[in-house]
């Protein structure tokens, strides 16, 4: 998948007698993927803040379906998508997660998404060639100071997820600050839609607190009470940041951060849907 592929594709089509029809549709923040729900360890998660910095969205068609039996269709040997067949159990293949498809739509630019306070905010107008869409790609970024209020804690980071984890009488305030590697691209977020010239929909960009296909909660496996105890102060507050910023971070918190960042950077918890404006 090459950035700028859309431009090349359109240029190629421009040589033909008729240019492929295209539409411009608004891409908006869709917070409906956040739900107050329980993890496998019985913690009920209520989000107060879910914000992230992304950019350079691409919308694709076809490509390699993220499913073991179909992985033999091929993946470039320099891409991480290789060997899906080795590691993906076909019984749990997600529908619609295509990789390596042809880019036929795009929304370039840098964005900060706020899935709670910014519900419905328009990121821009995506340009899409009429066709069948299967997936979307985008870059994780680090938010810069010039796109945030002074002192915003998202500055220099990719995402902040904050809220309260409750189990019985116990309530723990958590803050997770995620730093993705520079130019880390997420490939294959589901975007299953038929876009026509007459389409009058908008596109909703969702982050899902639980995997809709397998039911896994983003915070599955996280024992907030254990982390609260491990951080040196049992104060009902857990803060997880990139261990590279805190070399003295206890191992339990490092493990929790690594696992959460790994899950955050997969396509399982993102979705792009069409919705009425």
């Amino acid at each position: 998948m090459q950035r700028g592929a859309l431009a090349l594709f359109v240029l190629t089509l421009g040589c033909l007698p008729s240019e492929a029809p295209r539409v411009e549709l608004a891409l908006v923040v869709d917070g409906s993927g956040l739900a107050t729900s329980a993890t496998d360890l019985g913690w009920t998660i209520e989000f107060e803040q879910v914000r992230m910095a992304i950019g350079e969205l691409e919308f694709t068609t076809a490509g390699e379906v993220h499913q073991a039996k179909q992985a033999s269709g091929g993946a470039w040997s320099n891409a991480g998508a290789v060997l899906l067949g080795l590691v993906l159990p076909s019984a749990h293949a997600h529908p619609g997660h295509y990789q390596g498809g042809e880019v036929i739509g795009e929304l370039p630019g840098a964005f900060v998404l706020d899935f709670i306070a910014g519900e419905g905010a328009e990121l821009g107008k995506a340009t899409l060639i009429v066709g069948e869409y299967t997936a979307a790609n985008f870059l994780f970024r680090r938010a810069s100071a010039d796109e945030l209020e002074p002192g915003d804690p998202l500055t220099g980071h990719t995402a902040i997820l904050a809220g309260t984890a409750t189990q019985g009488e116990q309530a723990i305030a958590f803050t997770l600050v995620i730093d993705s590697p520079a130019d880390r691209q997420l490939v294959g977020a589901p975007f299953e839609a038929t876009i026509e010239e007459q389409s009058e929909v908008e596109l909703g960009f969702q982050w899902l607190s639980a995997d809709p296909y397998e039911g896994d909660h983003f915070f599955d496996g996280i024992d907030f009470a254990a982390l609260d105890a491990a951080d040196g102060a049992v104060d009902q507050v857990v803060i997880l940041i990139d261990p590279e910023r805190d070399p003295a971070m206890p191992a339990a918190l490092v493990d929790a951060y690594d696992n959460l960042r790994r899950d955050f950077q997969t396509h399982d918890l993102f979705d792009i849907v069409t919705r009425e404006p």
């Binding site: 470039w76 991480g80 060997l83 880390r184």
Partner: protein
């Protein structure tokens, strides 16, 4: 009859092979300096120097110019070759340019050690899942009455990448070194399988343990003519 023979030989000479003649295509395998001499500490972000005492590959189903070579058997890429790599086979083919090369990296067995600050750890791993490589980004020119070379290049540094998806991954060994759970100086497959991948980035793949991560990395080692990529898929 005579005119018929002249007509036939004229038609035959219109065929490309007749017009262009024949040459030979030679297929070689090279592990670059990283396999023959080791990966220096300067190239590894956490300062380990990695050396291989054996880096044996089994390449099968090697095809180019419409010809499939006999399987060459196991090849140890640590043998010094002064940049030439090792010959896998050759075939006579019409002089032309070919972009149809394909091969299977059927098995990789590596033995070696990593050293840093007086500490030395050994490893001996075998990756036995065949990976097919095809639609490679290279063109092999076979001149008339001469030899064109197609090289299968194995990138050993991929085994130690910290990301399966980054365009600019780092080479690291600290997390693998930490997987020597029994402290005996040998990092085994079982120990890697029991170790979480930590900060490594597997992309969308549901990989949690270091052995599965290395298996996925091993499948990316096959290249052509240096840095050329191929499409790939795992068998089985």
């Amino acid at each position: 009859m005579h005119r018929f023979a002249i007509l036939c030989s004229s038609l035959i000479c219109l065929l490309p092979a007749c017009a262009m003649g024949e040459g030979e295509v030679e297929v070689r395998a090279w592990g670059e300096a990283y396999i023959e001499e080791g990966i220096p500490a300067a190239a590894v972000s956490d300062g380990w120097a990695i050396e291989f005492s054996r880096f044996e590959v089994e390449l099968t189903d090697i095809a180019i110019a419409g010809v499939e070579l006999d399987d060459p058997g196991p090849i140890d890429l640590t043998v010094a070759s002064e940049g030439e790599g090792q010959a896998l086979g050759r075939a006579s083919v019409p002089a032309d340019s070919y972009d149809d090369a394909a091969f299977t990296l059927a098995r990789v067995s590596v033995e070696g050690s990593a050293s840093k600050g007086g500490e030395q750890l050994g490893f001996a791993w075998t990756f036995a899942t065949p990976v097919d490589f095809f639609e490679c980004e290279t063109t092999t020119s076979v001149p008339r009455d001469a030899t064109g070379v197609f090289q299968i290049t194995i990138h050993a540094d991929h085994l130690f990448y910290d990301s399966l998806v980054s365009e600019t991954p780092n080479i690291r060994f600290d997390p693998i070194a930490a997987a020597d759970l029994d402290g005996d100086g040998m990092i085994t497959q079982a120990e890697l399988a029991a170790t979480d991948i930590g900060a490594y980035d597997p992309g969308n793949l549901p990989i949690d343990d270091l052995w599965s991560y290395l298996v996925a990395l091993a499948a990316t080692m096959g290249h052509v003519d240096g840095e050329g990529h191929c499409r790939s898929s795992a068998e089985g």
